[in-house]
């Protein structure tokens, strides 16, 4: 980890007074170090989560039980995969990692608003990861799925401490996110360099701001729900217990009131990164900057009033379903604004197909595929048939898993020179992109067919009728694994022995403030408020 900055040999570094040894990391109040720790944690959790998904795909490659003879263990794998990827890979990488690294750099602040609170945000997440891993090893593990619906998650069906560990893990992760959100919002609202009005903020900053508000308002509702589940399990309350006048459906309301904003929490920062990258490599300001910014804000607002589209099969009356169909469809409008604005930015631009740009375009493609199946699933009538099938799995893996992961890869290739001071190998990067792109599509596209044919999710076995596409899907998983391992290799080689990167390796297209500081970024940056020249604003000059 310390390699990221120990290769720092810039002329200025003797001015960098920085703490040394383990205290530098454990006691850190430095946004770059904390961001690095977040990314490191995301990579560890990513390997764990990927191991779980490989086990799932190995089991599902052929009909009948292959090696997972205990179905509860299969459920534990599915649950761990979901929790890990959502809370410990995507969120720490996009928000904790890139947010910490680049919000202060891009708004011209020397650090975050509350640097100590920033540190506890990270360490609470590490503690949460410990609790989650523990939950997998005690008394049968938590096999509830990441949605933890009662009655499966209550004390009758999961009597051991595993689900309690998982609940408390999410409590700590939630506290981490709420504190992080307060920090991000305060930094963005209060610490922008003079001249950077809201309408001149880079789109990554807009994305982070909207994301942080979603975190701030959605995570406490999850905390409330988890507390109710905890007391139902251990102290005899009956919030979700029909025998005591409670209602298990109520858990689903609370969970998805958090869960739907959560999916935007995972995708919005990727929107921000892709916007920066498309603009940089098209050598044009982003098309429709204001529309892009307010589209994200709109997605954030509407994201709070669509939650019950995850629950179409619970027996709503027709008016309720009609409302949630309509509200969900409305989200296609701001999303469409974003897609078309990215395309319009590229249109007529002098495009350089460097690896980050390939990932940005890959993101747009994958997000459109996932978005279109999302429109399909938004229809309550259609969802009656598709609910809990592999069609849903395919849909949300296109948007959340692979589009978001493409956003992360895009950000890593784009910003790695700034973070470690070295350039990645462009040829390797392009190979890695194409292997991953082909792998994930072979992995997830056939799952649409499986879902339309009715294959249910979260079951380790299936009838022979589903045999062929499952094998192809598992083959795609192997290709994706190669891509993921290659990614780690490229990052490792870049940090160890990549070519030295200049302050701005991307040329005239890269106009945001992080490219005005040295590569790697010195320990302390923006100690004087940076000048915001008209051309470095996100908008074109008048």
């Amino acid at each position: 980890m310390s390699d990221l900055t120990s290769v720092d040999n810039s002329a200025h570094d003797h001015h960098d007074h920085k703490p040394t040894g383990w205290r530098r990391w454990a006691y850190s109040t430095n946004h770059k170090d904390i961001g690095t720790m977040y990314i490191f944690l995301a990579m560890i959790a990513g390997l764990l989560g990927m191991a779980a998904s490989m086990a799932i795909r190995a089991e599902l490659a052929l009909p009948e039980i292959q090696f997972i003879t205990d179905s509860q263990f299969y459920n534990v794998l599915v649950t761990a995969h979901g929790f890990l990827m959502v809370f410990f890979v995507v969120m720490p990488a996009l928000i904790g990692g890139f947010g910490n690294w680049f919000i202060p750099l891009m708004v011209g602040a020397p650090d975050m608003a509350f640097p100590r609170m920033n540190n506890i945000s990270f360490w609470l997440l590490a503690a949460a990861l410990v609790l989650l891993v523990l939950s997998g090893f005690v008394q049968g593990g938590a096999g509830t799925g990441w949605t933890a619906y009662p009655p499966l998650s209550n004390a009758d069906y999961h009597p051991g401490p595993a689900v309690d560990f998982a609940i408390l893990s999410l409590h700590l992760a939630g506290a981490s996110s709420i504190l992080g959100a307060i920090n991000f919002i305060t930094t963005i609202l209060n610490m922008r360099t003079p001249g950077m009005s809201f309408h001149k903020m880079p789109l990554f900053i807009w994305a982070s701001l909207v994301t942080a508000f979603l975190l701030l308002l959605a995570l406490p509702v999850l905390a409330g729900a988890l507390t109710m589940l905890l007391t139902d399990r251990n102290f005899g309350t009956t919030f979700f217990e029909a025998s005591g006048g409670g209602d298990p459906i109520f858990w689903q309301h609370l969970f998805w009131f958090f869960g739907h904003p959560e999916v935007y929490i995972m995708i919005l920062p990727a929107f921000g990164i892709v916007s920066e990258v498309v603009s940089t490599f098209s050598k044009k300001p982003i098309f429709g900057y204001l529309g892009m910014a307010y589209a994200m804000a709109g997605i954030g607002v509407v994201g709070f009033v669509v939650w019950a589209h995850h629950m179409f099969t619970v027996g709503f009356n027709v008016e309720t379903r009609a409302y949630f169909v309509l509200a969900t469809m409305v989200i296609a409008v701001p999303t469409g604004i974003k897609i078309f604005s990215w395309l319009a930015t590229m249109w007529g631009g002098s495009i350089e197909f460097k690896t980050p740009m390939l990932y940005a375009m890959g993101f747009i493609f994958l997000f459109v595929v996932g978005g279109v199946t999302g429109i399909t699933l938004a229809n309550a009538g259609v969802d009656m048939a598709f609910h809990d099938t592999y069609f849903v799995i395919a849909h949300f893996h296109y948007v959340l898993s692979i589009a978001t992961i493409f956003g992360i890869f895009c950000g890593v290739f784009y910003w790695l020179p700034k973070m470690c001071g070295n350039m990645y190998n462009e040829t390797l990067g392009k190979w890695q992109f194409w292997i991953t792109f082909i792998g994930v599509n072979i992995l997830f596209f056939p799952q649409h067919f499986l879902g339309m044919a009715g294959m249910p999710r979260r079951i380790p076995d299936y009838p022979d009728a589903y045999a062929g596409w499952n094998l192809i899907s598992s083959f795609g998983a192997l290709i994706s694994l190669v891509g993921a391992l290659m990614f780690i290799y490229i990052v490792w080689v870049t940090i160890r022995s990549g070519e030295k990167a200049p302050a701005n390796p991307w040329g005239e297209g890269a106009t945001t403030l992080e490219w005005t500081v040295d590569s790697p970024a010195p320990f302390h940056t923006h100690e004087q408020a940076p000048e915001l020249e008209p051309k470095s604003a996100a908008q074109p000059a008048e």
Binding site: D111, P115, L124, R233, T238, G244, G245, G246, L254, Q528
Partner: protein, 273 residues
Amino acid sequence: MTSESATSQPWHVPEPSPWPIVGTAAALATALGLVWFMHTGSPWLLGIGGILVLWTMIGWWRQVILEANDRTSHTSPVKVGLRIGMLLFIASEVMFFFAFFWAYFHSSLPILNIVAGPWPNEGVEAIGAAGIPLLNTLLLITSSLTVTIAHHAILENEREKVIFWTGITAVLGIIFLGVQIYEYHVLSFGLKDGVYPSTFYLATGFHGFHVFVGTIFLIICYFRARAGHFTPEAHIGYEAAAWYWHFVDVVWIFLYVNVYWWGASSFGHLVVE
């Protein structure tokens, strides 16, 4: 870019601190201790976790108070940030209570829950709005007035008045908590008696916990006022305590109107006929 190490920016970047990781260890011990307690009944690890959390709070906030008093760390832009941070924290707390109010309405209103049973659930008598709850409402509303008097006294630099009215506010908070505990003792139903007691005890219980936290915050402000920490220009800590106290007050008014009053009114019964 950083041609000199001195910063000309007004922001406060503190030195590395042990408290975040100590606080995390405390949170981890508390979580493990809670699981241990729930599954074996042994409370010692939970107790250790609680003590560690308290130790973190004392150490960390002592540091913040020292910084507030050095009169250089908290520049006016930093104060704006601290205010924004506190408001955002309160916003997140509002959403936490939102979940419990939702639980209350979901369990009681057939329009939200077509399988809702009778309300309150069978065998439970709802609490009326008169008597103890009304007394508590008056206590909290009065305390919101007294804390505002104290806040204005800070702006007018009248230290004796600040100390007096802050003390009164804290005492009102303590009396509220005593009355609330008394109410729990005399109630006819227990936590395990169904969904009405579940929502009642968790909503009022978490509110009571917030009153407890707010009272401690005010007591600390009381001693800080006596030590002369607050000036008309520099009293962010007091502002935060006062805002938090008003927030606790507003949550109570919602609890009083919805849970105590409406929940036991004939209108409430009509809806679930």
